[in-house]
Symmetry: C2
């Protein structure tokens, strides 16, 4: 099975010899610097068999290496065995990153080949200057015979309360303010947001592989791949809104012909396209990112409705789970995930999941990147903790929720961990903070109850969520790493502290929160959070003494809200079950 990878690497080396390349760098990203790329751009997986979400490969004539971080060491060691690819560890003290490794390996003027479409300008700038860079778009095409094409799925519109002409007007004002003549948007969710358009070009992410070039006179959308298959009605609608349709591969010529001063985001623009630009480039953080993050009233209402639909599905799911176990049915993690998907799909507005459901019982939940196996998945037992992290894409919004569900009696340590993580979740959710506060300051409010008891978790506390867009959305977040972007009213963010004990259990409690105005006093404007997620937190295994009166009252208030909001949509049986579940503690 692994010989195929060794063979592919040899084919790459033949190509390298023929072209006098000393090394080839391949990344797992796409021309839009997407967090999740389409199949076509899973080049690292095709070449090495490594399926982790983060990993870059360097192949030389006598070495092949995969650079990945702590999260993937075990997986990489397993998947790379027999391929001849060596693991280079990153995020460890002794790490040697790709630029340093190349620097130590090759003499001056060595030729380093890259697929410039799949690396950003700054990636390439980090390489030693003394090398020659050969940027070859789609360089694997020559040996990846059945490489998938650029995806092209049906387009559809969303109605976020602001039309395309209005968004274009706003963007043109920004361009003028910056003293520029145009802006290039290559980040897929920014293009989708600008044009109120969606598709399914990337799994779980309702995006259209395309780019947008806006000047004072024109808006050119580089989108057409195979002319006939694309959704004609949507396209002509967008055309009527002042947007010119272009072939996707026309972007390079358009960039080379652009005159004047062009704005672009250095964080997402790829090296190959960057090199086509002869005009003056004004690098900046894309203004679309921040505006997109602040949801307008229509989007907030849509998100509310999406979370109502999602809450109905998840409550039905938890009820089903509980009854099934009581009835002694044999349910695996995989069966459970399927049932949740089926329940979500009952809503007409459901488009699909917003990411792959994590359905993990017991020790599986302690693995940070657990993937529920579809065959031989562990069976849920009527004791201990079951963690389910999932989300839906709806026509009116995107959701992301984690509940940790006690399936029966729990140990002392499970109960304590469950309670302290809930305390952490509540402390963040109750936070009030002045205008200008960055999410990293809220992160410590959330972690402090865990820190005090010698506990901690290794991921961020929260990330932004898109409106019928990516479930991970910037620029704001709540993490220990400093992020200067303040939390602003209209932003949505997850609140998801966790705790993971290897070989034992994992706990995570996650709601999506909306940032809103709290009050204004002589000391300034203050903001607070409002939960959008509607699904009760189980209180049966709570160690009540670990919560303050204020925290308990928040918890009771939240569960009461869930009951009140969902009851009108639930069966009588489910209602009375939920009434029990949300009884104040």
């Amino acid at each position: 099975m692994t010989e195929i990878y060794a063979q592919r690497i040899e084919e790459l080396r033949s190509m390298m010899r023929a072209r006098d390349w000393d090394a080839v760098i391949l990344t797992g990203s796409d021309p839009h610097h997407s967090e999740y790329p389409a199949e076509r751009w899973k080049q690292v997986r095709w070449l090495t068999g490594f399926t982790g979400e983060a990993g870059d490969v360097v192949v030389t004539l006598d070495h092949a290496g995969l650079w990945t971080d702590t999260r993937y060491f075990i997986q990489a060691n397993r998947q790379l065995a027999g391929t001849g690819v060596e693991l280079h560890k990153t995020r460890v003290p002794e790490q040697v990153l790709i630029p340093e490794w190349l620097d130590a390996t090759f003499p001056d003027s060595a030729v380093i080949a890259v697929d410039g479409l799949c690396q950003t300008d700054s990636d390439i700038a980090a390489l030693p200057e003394r090398f020659d860079i050969a940027s070859v778009p789609d360089l694997l095409d020559a040996i990846w015979k059945d490489r998938p094409g650029i995806p092209q799925t049906p387009l559809f519109r969303v109605d976020p309360g602001e039309d395309v002409p209005s968004k274009l007007r706003w963007l043109r004002e920004v361009i003028a303010e910056q003293g520029c003549d145009g802006i290039l948007l290559t980040s897929l969710d920014e293009v989708a947001w600008m044009l109120n358009v969606r598709a399914s070009d990337i799994e779980y992410n309702p995006l259209v592989i395309s780019a947008l070039l806006v000047t004072q006179d024109h808006a050119e959308w580089f989108v057409l791949k195979e002319e006939d298959e694309i959704s004609a009605a949507v396209l002509s609608e967008i055309e009527s809104e002042g947007v010119t349709l272009r072939r996707y591969d026309g972007i390079e010529l358009a960039l080379s012909e652009f005159q004047g001063r062009l704005m672009a985001d250095s964080g997402t623009l790829n090296y190959h396209w960057r090199r086509q630009i002869s005009a003056e480039l004004h690098y900046c953080e894309s203004p679309v990112q921040m505006r997109k993050a602040v949801k307008n009233e229509t989007e907030v209402e849509g998100m509310r409705f999406a979370h109502l639909l999602d809450g109905i599905a998840v409550e039905q799911y938890i009820y089903w789970l509980e009854k099934s176990l009581q009835e002694g049915r044999r349910i695996s993690e995989w069966d459970a995930a399927l049932e949740l998907g089926r329940l979500r799909a009952e809503a007409d507005e459901y488009l699909g999941d917003s990411f792959e459901t994590i359905s993990a019982y017991g020790e599986g939940a302690a693995l940070p990147h657990y993937i529920t196996p579809n065959a031989g998945a562990p069976i849920l037992e009527p004791h201990g903790l079951y963690l389910c992290d999932s989300g839906g894409q709806y026509t009116c919004g995107t959701t992301d929720i984690t509940r940790t569900i006690p399936l029966g009696p729990c140990s002392e340590i499970e109960r304590e961990d469950y309670t302290l993580v809930l305390k952490a979740h509540i402390d963040a959710a109750m936070a009030v903070f002045p205008a200008g506060t960055s999410g990293s300051l809220i992160d410590s409010l959330c972690r402090e109850p865990l820190w005090r008891s010698g506990r901690n978790f290794g991921h961020g506390t929260g990330h932004g969520v898109g409106y019928v867009l990516c479930v991970h959305e910037g620029p704001h977040d709540m993490r220990q790493n400093y992020n200067s972007h303040p939390l602003l009213p209209g932003m949505v963010i997850t609140d998801e502290p966790g705790l993971y004990r290897e070989g034992m259990h994992g706990v995570r409690h996650e709601n999506v929160l909306l940032v809103r105005e709290a009050f204004e006093t002589e000391f300034g404007r203050f903001f607070c959070f409002e939960p959008l997620t509607l699904c009760h937190f189980d209180t049966s295994i709570l160690v009540k003494e670990l919560l303050t009166d204020e925290e308990l009252s928040y918890l009771n208030g939240y569960n009461e809200l869930v009951l009140r909001e969902l009851s009108p949509y639930l069966s009588e049986e489910l209602c009375s079950w939920l009434r029990e579940k949300t009884r104040p503690v």
Copy 2:
């Protein structure tokens, strides 16, 4: 009175005309970028009469301007009236800083004169390149006839548990690790720390105006000003520890002759000295700063003893204050400050104050930079809040304490503010945090109780404190502005949240805390704080319901600790008073 300043500015202009200078920039700093300069370098005050701690001046042939921030607008307007100097506001949205202002005012090749000794390299680098910079050390000498000389006060040693040869060995290892041949230390507290030497060259700051140049073979201390007056015994002791004594003004020649690669701190090296260096310069944050911030065992014990002595004095002071008011005596803010100084001076180890005491009653305490007037100071009345922020320099450590003392009945809002600020103080003091945590994350834990009630304060929550050194010491702090330096065991930091209501009252509660190991678990190492300050918090006006059980128990425990530690050193009368004051609530 103000004509003198107008006249001095005219004299400066005569000089400018004679030398063909278009503008002169003067700052309030010294050649060592000290926070507080000696008299000789209070150039802004001499020229304009402005006494604020932050302010830069630009004089042109037809304009004189003072650039200062929000804290000083009222003071600047008052002090500059009649001088012809205009206020340029900084830290306001419409600010035009000196480089921009000069850029808008002068054509290419204008000559901008600066006292290069009193500006850092980066200050000058910020000026438009199209100007010619004339760097003239001590340029005011020509017109400031009675300008004070470079201070030269008696030297004395401290014993911080590590001798000079050991510190030099460590520093030489760092130099070698950085691939350098030497290091230049110009920050006065770093030089004092390296040589275990102190003096009184700057008010409140026990520093010696000097610089230190260390290579693998030599350590040259540029210190001698007027040969005969300096403390001979201390000097020969330091010489015997492997340090060569040089004249202070010999630094320039030494820098010009230095061969090899020289480390220096870009944050403190002055422009004039920088220009003497012909060798390769390796700019970095000085390694002494971080090592100095982490106190060793001897220093920690010394700090503990200094805080014991300080606690004894402050408790006596609060007792005196209470009794005096009960007896109906007429005491002004100034009288009170004098009495506090007198009580501190009773300890043999007392060297002086660590900064000018803020003794402020009622609305005075609401002013962020209140200076207690020595004549006509407000009289303390037997009601409302009195704020006293003070500190001592002892032979074994440095202290900084603020107590807000109810002098009698208080209003509801005074009581609430008093309690909430104490709650904030306690929440920071109780914090537990993992290794690597920056103080800015603790800052939000401290502020959250104030934020929730729509309150906030405009200064940092905490700063480092030196060991018989500056009362403000970096590189760590607790502020909303991000500071990447983590809090490490052995660091000391103040915890001083506040609340200020203009025209009403001010509250601040401040202890000095020591960072220490809390515990290590499977989730990593955790640190916590231990209070060094020993002085009770008054509980008479507490709004008890605003504190959680945990906060109340911390407060009771702290007051109990104060009683236990101080009792052996207090009179019976004072002891029984303190027993009452520290009775658990």
